[in-house]
């Protein structure tokens, strides 16, 4: 497979692991390769456009770079979009939107939020322009695990709830796309620490065997580099630093120890993931300054792109 062989890539993982970073890096790489790419936020936080020094336009597309656009898919706007498609008469759908019943009603139908968001992703997938499809790749920055799961299964839930009718027919089309491993893939993002790794493994188990197939890649984010090329001489070096009697050297030695211990822990975390999730894994380096800048995003994108090609 290659990066663009699935049209939809859904990026999920627990809060704070770097889902948005991974989504953006992956989308940047796809755009660089000439794929017409859109990266969709679903949490309503609209963080992506500002990363490129631009203002978010919410549900409307913003171009970030050549071949790269972003938008934020909120449930209410997606619902409006859906109703416009269903009710062609402008006067009527405006009446529907303005009605105070609408908001509470969208809230009252379980899974409808997620289903209409997923429906918008499906619309992007189908969208035609100049006689060809508009987007080669749609990257979905999905909500944190609990909600990410419900987004993935929302079309199925909606089908179970409605059982018949126009919405059933609509979500069935959506379901057929997102449930097709040829067309939709999932990237699970994790951190090389014990708890995030355990949660990622739990998430994978809860996906069930059908959905597990759709997990294309595990992105293990924020992997620290070693302080110096590995060797078995650190204990001796450490001893020499401690023997100096210089408190600055003693402290430096202990900070280096912590760094090396972190490396051990992250190796262990990676091994645990590989053991519990039999899917390809890519290690992404930790960005020293905290939030990755554009150059760092390009670098992460290149790594992700190669991993997706191989996965």
């Amino acid at each position: 497979m290659s990066l663009g062989s699935q049209r939809i890539v859904i990026v999920t993982g627990k809060g704070g692991v770097g889902k948005t970073t991974v989504s953006v890096a992956l989308a940047l790489e796809a755009a660089r390769r000439g794929l017409r790419t859109v990266v969709a936020e679903t949490s309503g936080s609209q963080r992506i456009a500002p990363l490129f020094g631009q203002e978010s336009r919410g549900y409307d597309l913003v171009q970030l770079a050549p071949n790269l656009h972003t938008l934020s898919i909120t449930p209410l706007e997606a619902m409006e979009d859906y109703i416009v498609q269903q009710v062609k008469i402008r006067r009527i759908y405006e009446m529907v939107f303005r009605n105070r019943v609408m908001g509470p009603f969208v809230d009252a139908v379980p899974g409808l939020h997620d289903a209409v968001q997923l429906g918008k992703v499906f619309d992007l997938e189908r969208e035609q322009r100049f006689g060809r499809r508009r987007w080669d790749l749609i990257v979905v920055d999905a909500p944190a695990t609990g909600h990410g799961l419900s987004l993935l299964s929302s079309a199925r839930t909606m089908m179970d709830l409605t059982r018949a009718g126009p919405l059933y027919e609509g979500v069935k089309l959506v379901h057929d796309v997102v449930d097709d491993p040829e067309r939709t893939g999932v990237v699970l993002v994790s951190l090389p620490e014990e708890m995030p790794v355990n949660e990622t493994a739990e998430l994978y188990q809860r996906l069930g065997s059908d959905s597990q197939e759709r997990v294309r890649l595990i992105a293990l984010n924020q992997m620290a580099a070693p302080p110096f090329p590995a060797g078995d001489d650190w204990p001796r070096a450490r001893e020499a630093l401690l023997a100096s009697g210089d408190p600055a050297l003693t402290e430096a030695a202990s900070l280096t120890d912590r760094w090396l211990e972190r490396l051990d822990r992250q190796d262990h975390a990676r091994d645990t993931l590989l053991q519990r999730i039999p899917r390809p894994l890519v290690e992404l380096p930790r960005c020293p300054g905290g939030a990755p800048d554009r150059a760092a995003l390009d670098e992460l994108g290149a790594l992700l792109g190669r991993a997706m090609d191989a996965a």
């Binding site: 627990k14 269903q86 944190a144 708890m195 949660e199 210089d246």
Partner: protein, 374 residues
């Protein structure tokens, strides 16, 4: 004796669950009877508390393992939203038959598990239940990691809005029934559109549910009011858990603003995983001079470059964090207590690790005048 409520809130990934548990342990070791309620479905709290599995009913945490002289106690539980919702229905239903009718409704079975906000609302309901019936001095609530960190605050109002009979009346009414008033013409159209989209079968089930729910309405709103009163009680404390990472702080400030707007009692900031700056920086000469004979000069240069980098990186991280912490301090109320929890060297595994965080957390968050440790 009424229990005090401490609510730990903040965005996902900041270690809210860990802080909630560590705070609960600390309060129990102060001699209080404490309950900690977590919403986190990842079951990690159970692992570190050493109680196997967490459920909707209280499990006693074996605190004697870390503190044999502990006079307080700690019960832990994890919210089961569905079970709590079922309990609520049984509690407020006018008769067992009415409760069973709702519990058997197909729409209810979906809604109680999947309805947007139902999880958050049930966290509030469970809190109220514990507060009313549990033998506790303090209840610590770990709030849900929602998309919007504050959804849980609006949850009771949102659910009340949902069950407002006016909202659903149009769906319940048969289309043939007359009496539409001109002002409500919009609602009739909405109902028609929704019926067309969702299909009559689904609408019928939803309508049936809301019909049945009418009888529970009074009991339900009564509980909602009590939840709101408990959240706004001057004895309640909202602790804002955040990390020195930038995004988490932007959310923390937003959170603070919402607490202010809603007039909810703010108890202070807990900054989790704070990096302490190194005490000193090694001199290049001193590093070079420490070379043991068994290591070649070239290799020693490699190693010491890494050692120096370990110190530099830590200093840079600590400086970045200090700037953000100062910003947060300047943005909060002038006397807002702030507790800094240092970054642990390793993953937190067990009770002892959690208990070790105790000294960095408030002993009694409701003492507004208590100065934070510096």
């Amino acid at each position: 004796m009424t229990a005090r409520v401490v609510i730990c809130c903040g965005s996902g990934g900041v270690g809210k669950t860990t802080v909630s548990a560590a705070l609960a342990i600390r309060l129990a070791r102060e001699g209080h009877r404490v309950a900690v309620l977590t919403i986190d479905p990842a079951r990690r709290l159970a692992d570190s508390l050493g109680i196997g599995e967490l459920g909707n009913t209280a499990r006693r945490v074996p605190l004697e393992r870390v503190d044999p002289s502990c006079t307080g106690s700690l019960d832990a539980m994890m919210l089961d939203a569905k079970a709590t919702f079922d309990e609520l229905i049984r509690r407020v239903a006018p008769s067992p038959a009415a409760a069973e009718r709702i519990l058997a409704n197909r729409y209810y079975r979906f809604a109680s598990q999947r309805l947007g906000g139902s999880h958050e609302y049930m966290a509030m309901e469970k809190l109220l239940d514990l507060w009313q019936t549990g033998p506790y001095d303090v209840i610590v609530l770990d709030t849900p990691p929602t998309r919007h960190a504050l959804d849980f605050l609006q949850a009771p109002d949102r659910m009340a809005g949902l069950f407002d009979q006016g909202v659903m009346r149009w769906l319940v009414m048969p289309a043939t029934q007359g009496g539409w008033r001109a002002l409500e013409l919009g609602s009739e159209v909405v109902a028609r559109v929704l019926k067309r989209i969702l299909g009559r079968g689904t609408i019928g089930e939803i309508a049936e549910f809301f019909e049945d729910f009418r009888d529970l309405w009074d009991g339900f709103t009564e509980r909602s009011k009590r939840v709101n009163a408990l959240l706004g009680d001057p004895a309640t404390r909202f602790m804002l858990v955040t990390s020195p990472a930038e995004a988490a702080q932007t959310e923390a400030l937003y959170f603070l603003e919402v607490l202010r707007e809603r007039g909810l009692p703010f108890g202070g900031f807990v900054l989790n995983r704070v990096t302490e700056p190194p005490g000193s920086s090694p001199q290049p000469d001193a590093l070079a001079a420490a070379r043991p004979a068994a290591i070649s000069p070239d290799r020693w240069a490699q190693i010491t470059a890494g050692v120096a980098q370990a110190v530099d990186q830590r200093a840079a991280t600590a400086a970045r964090q200090q700037a953000r912490i100062a910003h947060l301090r300047a943005s909060g109320p002038a006397d807002a207590p702030m507790w800094l929890v240092p970054e642990a060297d390793a993953d937190l595994h067990d009770l002892a690790d959690l208990a070790a965080l105790g000294p960095y957390l408030p002993a009694a968050p409701w003492n507004a005048g208590e100065p934070p440790p510096t």
